[in-house]
Assembly symmetry: C2
Homo-oligomer: 351 residues x 2
C-alpha cells in the first residue's frame, strides 16, 4: 500500500542495488529473469526490493523494450450494457497477464476511433476493437501497424472474435413464424454497423425459404431514445412482429408501444438482441439473443496477447490463441415480448 510518488522519494533500481551491494544489472536480472542469478542472491534482492517498496518504472522499461504492458479496449458506447461483460472479461484476463487496460469510449464515431487508434499506438502493445465503426481498409491498415483483434468484425487478415448472431437469425424467424407471424420488420442499427448489416442479410436469406414478408426499417441509432421513432415506423406498416437491432432499441420500442396503448405481445411481438442488463426486467421481459460475452472477452485478450508475443519474438503460440478467427454461438432466450400473431379479426387498438 505504499506506492512511491513520481517526484522525490521514488525508489529506483539503483537504491535496491546499493542496499544489496550489487550492480543494477544484477537487480534487473534477479527481478525479471530469475535463473540467471544465484538463488540466495535472488532471494535477498527480492526481499530488499519489497522492503524498500520498489516498483520498476513502466516508462523506463518500455523505453528500452518497446513494450508497454498496456492494452486498449475500444468500444462505441460505454453506456450500452452490452459491453459490460467485455470490459470486465478483458480486464480480468489482461491483468492476469500483467497488463493494464485503457477503456476507450469512441462515441459511435469513426473519427474518434481513428484518432484514438493513432494516439494509442505508442501507449499500448495492442488493441481490441469491439464493434468498430471503421472501414475494412482502415482496419486492415491499422492492423498492419499494431496488433489488433476485432470483435464482431470479419476482415481477412485481422484476427477476430465473432459473436454469431447472424446465424441465430434463422431461429428468430422460425420462432416468429411458428407463432403465426407472416409480416415481420427488422429495425436496423447504424449503417456503419457490420453486425446490423450481417443480421439483415441473414434474415433475408432465411426469409427466402419461409412464408413471410420481411421488410427493413431504419436505420436507427442503437439507443433507447431511438426506440420511439422505430416503434412509430413499425406501426405505420402492417407488421405484427419486429426484430430490433439490439436490446437498447427494443426497450425503447417497448416503452413507446406502451405509451401508444399497443399491447406486447398481444398486438405486437418484439425481439431484441444481446440480452443486456435490463432485458430480463423490462416490461414485458424481452425475447432476445444471449451471447457468451465473458468468453469473447477472454478469447480476444488471449489472441491479442498471442499476437503481441509473436511480434516481440516470443515463441509461437500454438493452442487456441494461434487461431485467427473465433466464432461464438448465441442462443435464443424466449421471454414475454413475443407471442402469437394477432388474429386477422381483432384490429390492434392503436391510441
Amino acid at each position: 500500500m505504499s506506492a512511491a510518488p513520481h517526484g522525490e522519494g521514488r525508489v529506483t533500481i539503483a537504491d535496491v542495488a546499493k542496499s544489496a551491494g550489487v550492480a543494477t544489472s544484477t537487480v534487473s536480472r534477479a527481478l525479471s529473469r530469475p535463473g540467471r542469478v544465484s538463488e540466495p542472491l535472488r532471494q535477498k534482492i527480492v526481499a530488499i526490493a519489497n522492503e524498500l517498496g520498489y516498483y520498476p518504472s513502466p516508462q523506463a522499461r518500455s523505453l528500452k523494450s518497446g513494450r508497454t504492458h498496456n492494452v486498449a479496449l475500444l468500444i462505441p458506447d460505454i453506456t450500452n450494457p452490452f459491453f459490460f461483460g467485455l470490459v470486465r472479461a478483458t480486464q480480468a484476463q489482461a491483468r492476469a497477464r500483467g497488463y493494464l487496460q485503457f477503456v476507450v469510449n469512441t462515441e459511435e464515431s469513426a473519427g474518434v476511433e481513428a484518432a484514438y487508434l493513432a494516439e494509442l499506438g505508442k501507449s499500448v502493445d495492442g488493441v481490441i476493437l469491439a464493434a468498430s465503426r471503421l472501414s475494412d481498409d482502415e482496419l486492415a491498415s491499422a492492423s498492419r501497424t499494431l496488433p489488433i483483434v476485432t470483435i464482431n468484425r470479419d476482415i481477412p487478415n485481422v484476427p477476430s472474435v465473432i459473436i454469431d448472431t447472424p446465424a441465430a437469425m434463422v431461429q428468430a424467424l422460425d420462432h416468429l413464424v411458428s407463432l403465426g407471424h407472416t409480416s415481420i420488420a427488422y429495425l436496423s442499427g447504424p449503417e456503419s454497423s457490420w453486425s446490423s448489416r450481417k443480421r439483415w442479410s441473414a434474415l433475408q436469406q432465411a426469409a427466402r425459404t419461409r412464408a413471410v414478408h420481411l421488410r427493413d426499417l431504419g436505420p436507427f441509432a442503437p439507443t433507447v431514445q431511438a426506440g420511439a421513432a422505430a416503434a412509430d415506423s413499425t406501426l405505420a406498416t402492417e407488421t405484427t412482429a419486429c426484430i430490433c437491432f439490439n436490446d437498447l432499441l427494443a426497450i425503447g420500442v417497448l416503452q413507446r408501444l406502451g405509451e401508444r396503448g399497443v399491447r406486447v405481445p398481444q398486438d405486437m411481438s418484439v425481439m431484441g438482441c444481446d440480452d443486456i442488463f435490463g432485458a430480463d426486467f423490462c416490461n414485458p421481459p424481452l425475447t432476445t439473443f444471449s451471447a457468451p460475452l465473458d468468453q469473447a472477452g477472454r478469447l480476444a485478450t488471449d489472441m491479442l496477447m498471442s499476437l503481441v508475443q509473436d511480434r516481440w519474438g516470443g515463441r509461437l503460440a500454438g493452442g487456441v490463441e494461434g487461431r485467427r478467427h473465433e466464432r461464438l454461438s448465441t442462443y435464443l432466450t424466449i421471454r414475454d415480448s413475443t407471442g402469437p400473431a394477432p388474429s386477422a379479426a381483432n384490429a390492434r387498438g392503436v391510441a
Copy 2:
C-alpha cells in the same frame, strides 16, 4: 491513421530534426513550446513532423518529466450502470486535457483496489476513486503519495466530490410518510460502503422527528441477485415500505416481490437510489434519487488535473478546481414503485 509501430520503422524526433536540418531540441521546442522558436521554422517543423507521421513517445517523455499524461478511474463494479455517466464524463474531460484514462474494475474488493493503486502509481499522474472500499487511513496515506480525488467519500485532506444522497433521505422519508407509511425498512449495502452508512444515519436522524418506525436490514450485496434475500427479509417484518441502498438491489427486490405475488406499490412500496439505466423501465418504474453524474465526473477530473498541476509546479489553480470538497445535490424522482400505505384509510386522502 498511420500510427508508427513500436518495433522498426518508428519515426523519432531525430528523424524529424534531420529532415528539417535542425537540432532535436528545436523540434522538441517547436512541438511542445511554440513561441520559443521562430514562427516560420515552427511551421516547417510541424509540417515535416506531420508528413513523417511523427508521434512523440509518451514513455520517453514521461521518463524525463515524470508526468505520464494518464489518469485512472477506479470503480468497484463496472457492471453497475451507476458508473456509466462517470466513466463517460471523466474520459471526455480527461481527453480534452490531453489525458488517457485507465478504467479499473476493483470487483468490490479493498484488496484489489489497494493492489491497483500501488501498481498504478508509476503509470498515472493521478487517480479518481469512486465509491472506494478502502479505509480512511489507507486513503489518506495513498493520497499523500499520489494525487487522488474521491467520489462519495469524505476524508479531511483528500479532495472529493460528494453526491449528497444522505441529504435527500429526508425527502425519501417525507415522501413515504405523506403516503401513510409508518414502518419503513432500510435495506443496506456492503458494510464497507461509506454511502450506505451515511444514508442510514441520515435516515435515523430524520426519523427522530417523524412518526415512523425505522429498521435496517442487511447488509446486502449491491446487486440484483441480492434483491431476493433483501425482499424476503423485508417480508419477514411488518414493514410496508423499503428504501434500498441502490437501484440494483431495488430492482432485485421488485423481481422477487413479483415472484411472491406481492404487488408493488399496493402491498409494498419500494425506493431505490441512483436512477440508473433500467430504473425507468423496470416493472413498475422505480421511485429513486437522480444525481448529476456527468457533472460529478467532470468536476472530479478538473480537480484532479488541478492537483496534478500543483504537484508539478504549475501555477496555483484558483477557481472551482481549487476547492477541495464539492457537494452535489440529488433530487427525488417519483415513479410508480411507491404508493399509499396498504393498511387502513390512507392518510391525507391519497387515492
